[in-house]
Subunit: 147 residues, 2 copies
């Protein structure tokens, strides 16, 4: 059987993340799991070489559940014809302090929707992996028939 | 200030789910949150009117963490030009018993990637909401410059 899945290198994963801007964050809120689409940017410290993700969160958002439980997962994907790519990471989220929030000014990160006040949250990435899939979608005509 | 967010009705949310096939599932694995892209289908019981989501999971997949903790969240989105739509739901996942798994044959649900053995998992939806966003993305040129 042909192997329809390819693994991305860590370098390829970060390159994929850098070329995209919309992902989905999974986080804890009390004992529930929640998910939300967010736009993000990759921050890169030229001195240490450390890379992390930054995003903005509206003041008072339940997204600040990450302050209570920092454990998060994040996913970015792309579907092009018969090929899909997905990068998944896990990490620790924390709200940046005021004297660090300026880091969000140096990356291509803006709120998608205008809202008065934002916090900047960083994800310190502890695991990252990416996969490419060659898809077989024999049922696709069913979906087209339905719409 | 113009309100850049519109709310979808429950009917619109289900219609959106029915017209798509790729979403991201957030689930618990021990005390961690995990996320994975999955293809899914909407199942609809014509007698009761009840709707749920079905997906397949490879035997032995860590996705079967849902057997240990049924609490899950699921997200489907679409980005078209300057407009994004996202539907988020929360619910309870369970693996279908052998005598129910045939339900996956009646919906446009096939594994994207050929793998020998599958379980069928159902998400019983307890909360569903959808939002449309009119985007302002002033930093988009920055991303294009980088690639």
């Amino acid at each position: 059987m042909d192997e329809p899945i390819t693994r991305l290198s860590t370098h390829q994963c970060w390159d994929f993340l850098r070329r995209h801007e919309l992902g989905r964050l999974a986080y804890h809120l009390a004992d529930e799991v929640h998910i939300v689409p967010i736009n993000y940017a990759v921050d890169h410290d030229p001195v240490t070489g450390r890379r992390s993700l930054l995003f903005r969160s509206a003041e008072g958002s339940k997204l600040l559940g990450v302050v209570m439980n920092a454990d998060v997962a994040f996913e970015v994907d792309e579907l092009e014809g018969e090929h899909a790519t997905s990068v998944i990471l896990r990490g620790r989220a924390r709200r940046l302090e005021e004297d660090e929030a300026h880091r969000a000014e140096n990356v291509p990160l803006r709120p998608w929707v205008a809202t008065p006040k934002w916090n900047v949250v960083e994800i310190d990435v502890t695991e990252i992996s990416g996969r490419g899939f060659d898809l077989s979608r024999p049922w696709r005509h069913l979906i087209i028939d339905e719409s």
